[in-house]
Subunit: 591 residues, 2 copies
């Protein structure tokens, strides 16, 4: 059965040597001393490795079961959830006013990475609750906040997000769920929602559903969509639980993975709901949380890749097969371990360099969100908005690929469920789909974010890269990083230029290249992260660290990424520059 050990050293490196959180000017970061963050990471590492990881395979095998309207979670989930929330992990970044620990989002992200690596399906119960918490915090009335948030911070009550209906997901303007005003400020909701993660389960006293619906008589399409709070059990004035509301699980889905999370069809049959935020502004209320939620999914791409990678390494060191081509390395054994073979190394280096780069990228994103949120920094907000689809789309596509590579290291055993490697790929697969399928991320990036505020944010990104290159171009220790980063960034600029010149004439010329653009943008971001990490590693070595191996290995891993992954930008550029003619050339009937 796979194991998980939180990579706390790499996490600390990103927090303190790459992002320098404690000396940064992000409000709330001054408490994040290395001692403090270490304590958090070590403790979170313990509970995730020792309690959540062993339940990962159990959740996959047992799944959730629905009987007489009751959803039972897998053996051990409830006890672990109790332990997890009692230790305060669910409210780590929530407001102290509602019982949270008030730490910056970046610390919540680091803990979430561990939870997700250890047990993604389990982590979603708290993750969804966090999302619903954040929506109520941002858009709720004071009374709503006081009614719901304390119990959601502690996860005594969990939360859900209800968007999708059987016939519409991305295109929510087609939505049919209706909300009838009752004259007393409340509404009666009727309709069916599908793919509702943690929609019903046995681990919490109440479930607070956030539901998108159309108020009867409101505007057509997406402009008539509002957001509602629909509790499973009504909440009395004194905070105690009242009658069961008119919302019930219809069925639970049989899915490819994340079996430990109950994905529900939810039926609303005159359920009482309360408007959250303004009438007909439901999409806006949802979108406020989008950067958070999408960054959280980006993190899942990294998290599954990391967990799968760790287990691939264990197997590659253990399994004996063949001899090293440069000469036997373990003459006393009947064969050398897999890890001596160059193509196994290639695969492990792909995985390792991805995970470490992706972690830097995700934590940097979280830092921008903290900056934007706590200081109303419009530039940080603009940059993270631009990079959010890149983070989500690129890291989940690649994260999935990495789980497939990790599985491949196991050969035939990778295909057998008992070994647990298949679960990583099956669980990772969902992250490419939910929170906006990756094609939608690419569309958002090219069709919307690129030109936002007159293209200001993408220019700011290019400046960031240019400035880094300018400042470090004479640093010989970074030569292996600067040149590839420059080339990749040039490719990305050329692609942007192509879109500007051709997208006006025909938007298909831009959108046909959107997926490639998202991927090349991802590589440039990863290249920037690695170049910065290389600089930090060089500084540590120059300063005379007592752990030179750690920093030397960082440099080797980074050089691998620059040499082996960044050349992908040339391929993506060539595809983009081939335009839309071959993409759109066939009539629909010809498929």
């Amino acid at each position: 059965m796979p194991t998980y050990a939180a990579p706390t050293k790499d996490m600390s490196f990103v927090l303190h040597e790459l992002l320098n959180v404690d000396t940064s000017d992000v409000p709330g970061y001054d408490d994040l001393s290395p001692d403090f963050t270490s304590a958090i990471l070590e403790e979170a590492g313990k509970i995730t490795g020792e309690v959540l990881a062993p339940l990962n395979a159990v959740g996959d095998k047992e799944g959730c079961t629905l009987e007489n309207g009751v959803v039972r979670t897998p053996t051990g989930f409830k006890a672990a959830f109790d332990q997890f929330r009692e230790a305060g992990w669910t409210g780590i970044s929530s407001e102290p006013e509602f019982g949270g620990q008030g730490m910056p989002y970046i610390m919540g992200m680091a803990v979430s990475e561990m939870v997700s690596s250890a047990n993604q399906a389990f982590g979603m119960y708290g993750g969804l609750t966090n999302g619903a918490y954040a929506s109520i915090l941002a858009h709720g009335t004071q009374a709503q906040k006081e009614t719901y948030l304390p119990n959601m911070v502690s996860c005594e009550w969990t939360g859900t997000m209800n968007l999708t209906e059987p016939h519409c997901g991305t295109d929510l303007g087609l939505m049919r769920t209706k909300a009838e005003p009752q004259g007393d400020g409340s509404f009666k909701l009727s309709g069916q929602k599908i793919f509702i993660s943690a929609g019903e389960h046995d681990m919490a006293d109440n479930i607070i559903h956030l539901v998108l619906a159309k108020i009867v008589g409101g505007p057509e399409g997406i402009k008539g969509v509002s957001l509602f709070i629909v509790p499973k059990f009504m909440v009395n004035e004194d905070g105690s639980l009242g009658a069961r509301n008119g919302v019930a699980v219809g069925s639970i889905e049989e899915k490819m993975g994340i079996h430990g999370n109950s994905t529900c069809v939810m039926n609303y049959d005159g359920a009482t709901g309360y408007l959250l935020g303004d009438e007909h502004k439901g999409m806006r209320a949802m979108f406020t949380m989008m950067n958070h939620a999408r960054l959280g999914v980006a993190m899942q791409g990294l998290a599954q890749a990391e967990a799968a990678y760790q287990n691939a390494v264990i197997y590659a060191k253990d399994r004996l097969q063949g001899r090293a081509v440069t000469g036997t390395e373990f003459p006393d054994k009947p064969a050398d371990p897999l890890i001596v073979h160059p193509d196994i190394r290639r695969s492990l280096m792909d995985q390792k360099s991805f995970c470490e780069g992706a972690r830097a990228f995700v934590y940097w994103g979280a830092m921008m969100i903290d900056q934007a949120h706590e200081s109303d920094d419009k530039d940080a907000d603009g940059l993270i908005s631009l990079l959010t689809p890149v983070l989500k789309g690129f890291l989940t596509d690649k994260g999935y690929d990495m789980t497939v590579q990790a599985q491949q290291v196991y050969g035939g055993h990778g295909y057998i469920e008992e070994w647990g490697m298949s679960q990583f790929t099956r669980d990772a697969r969902i992250a490419m789909i939910y929170e906006g399928a990756n094609g939608v991320q690419a569309l958002d990036l090219v069709g919307r974010k690129l030109a936002q505020d007159g293209g200001k944010h993408v220019m700011a990104f290019f400046d960031l890269v240019k400035n880094f290159i300018g400042e470090n171009k004479d640093n010989e220790a970074l030569a292996d990083f600067i040149e590839p980063l420059k080339n990749a960034s040039k490719d990305l600029q050329a692609a942007s230029m192509y879109f500007m010149q051709n997208g006006m004439k025909n938007p298909n010329h831009a959108l046909a290249g959107s997926n490639d653009f998202m991927h090349m943008f991802g590589h440039v971001c990863m290249g920037l992260m690695w170049a910065r990490m290389a600089k930090a590693a060089t500084s540590a070595l120059d300063a005379g660290t007592d752990d030179p191996d750690f920093y030397t290995n960082k440099l080797i891993t980074g050089r691998y990424y620059m040499a082996r992954q960044l050349p992908a930008t040339g391929m993506h550029l060539a595809r983009i520059q081939s335009g839309a003619d071959t993409v759109m050339g066939l009539n629909a009937e010809a498929f």
Copy 2:
């Protein structure tokens, strides 16, 4: 539930307009008139689409069950197998001497593609039998052939291949299964084999296991491995079945996919076996069949991609979401279908251009095998040996990617088992692993095949490309094909050159690039196939075909592949030329 309709028109195009089978000089091909092949393809299309495809989801859901030593296949499998063998499909390319229909291997391949697209797990029962049949045909005594082959051709008896043991797969020298000579020409086999596809089931009267084992007292390692025939039931002199042999299924594996095929742990406990071929030459006997078997797996990569693609197209035309960016296309509908969106097109074109190119590549491979086999053509044999790892590794890696893309078209529904798209990816995953994991294919290509016979075969391949380019460089209708093919081929040559210059000094410099080399080689082969198909399409258009759309669409699809896929060779070359230093730079402890 997914459906499957055999792409008979595309298959005929490859057979008759690309490969010109009936006018070629391959022995046995003169019967392959368009009328004849059409009749075969249409009939096979019917049974696969109507009988086998509907059982695909059943097999996935039910799987196989083991009770008291009996393996039950999924509902409907046995009846379908009866229908399939009674119609003679199992022996289509087998020798008439043993009841087969004696058609060339290429026709068997076309039928197998359909079977595999419709129901890969089902197809494996007959596929494995074919493999065992071919081994006995090549290495058996006349008595062995007469005893086993007629019933194997008709699939009254099925066959298996037993190589892997719990601790060794690729490195069979570590094998522990023992064979003790009994003095009467027979042996007693003892040991455990794992991952035995169709190892035990309820669809045949007998199962003929081909088992690799070490004769006691023989040479150490791989040189002491022999191949044995071990029937489940002993066969009496008169051909009737006798006592149960000492071989039994220990358990069946829970796998990621191909649930409809029983993957067994087989225990040999003093089982009676008969030497097949020479003592200690078991690997050679196995390897004779390797090109066939690996080409068959390459075909599975294509087959799953094709089936998934067909269903992605259906969904993309049906599901309404958003509006075309260039203007509403279906104003009478609440939204336009997915297929209007450029990134959905990009995905469908990736899939379509892959499937059609891959089919050409696989059938060309089958033609070379026929040529080599029927005319003892050493050049054809050398070329197909070189290309076999490319076919197997590239087409199964890419075929899997295409199933993932097809699943992605379905958004959230792609993740729900009910829709069936997850099954295509889970089933396709195994093809990257079995018959030699793809890393082993890359190693075989770069470490062995490239330099085989003094590099003669790779030179022959480059000549083939060069000659085609030379002959067609002035054909303006092919301009979009010739230039990209030339560039990609140059990249491939540069990579070969890099290996030659650096692999001598340090073989890691070659092997660290083996996976990239396999992929760039695959792209060049696909580029060659598309350029040739484009030429055929142009000829048909010039000649005044009555179906100009078919050929025009072929050209558009081919142009897509050349413009959007061939640029990958530049990326692979850059990776290869970065050498082994970053790949092998870390100590094993640093992972």
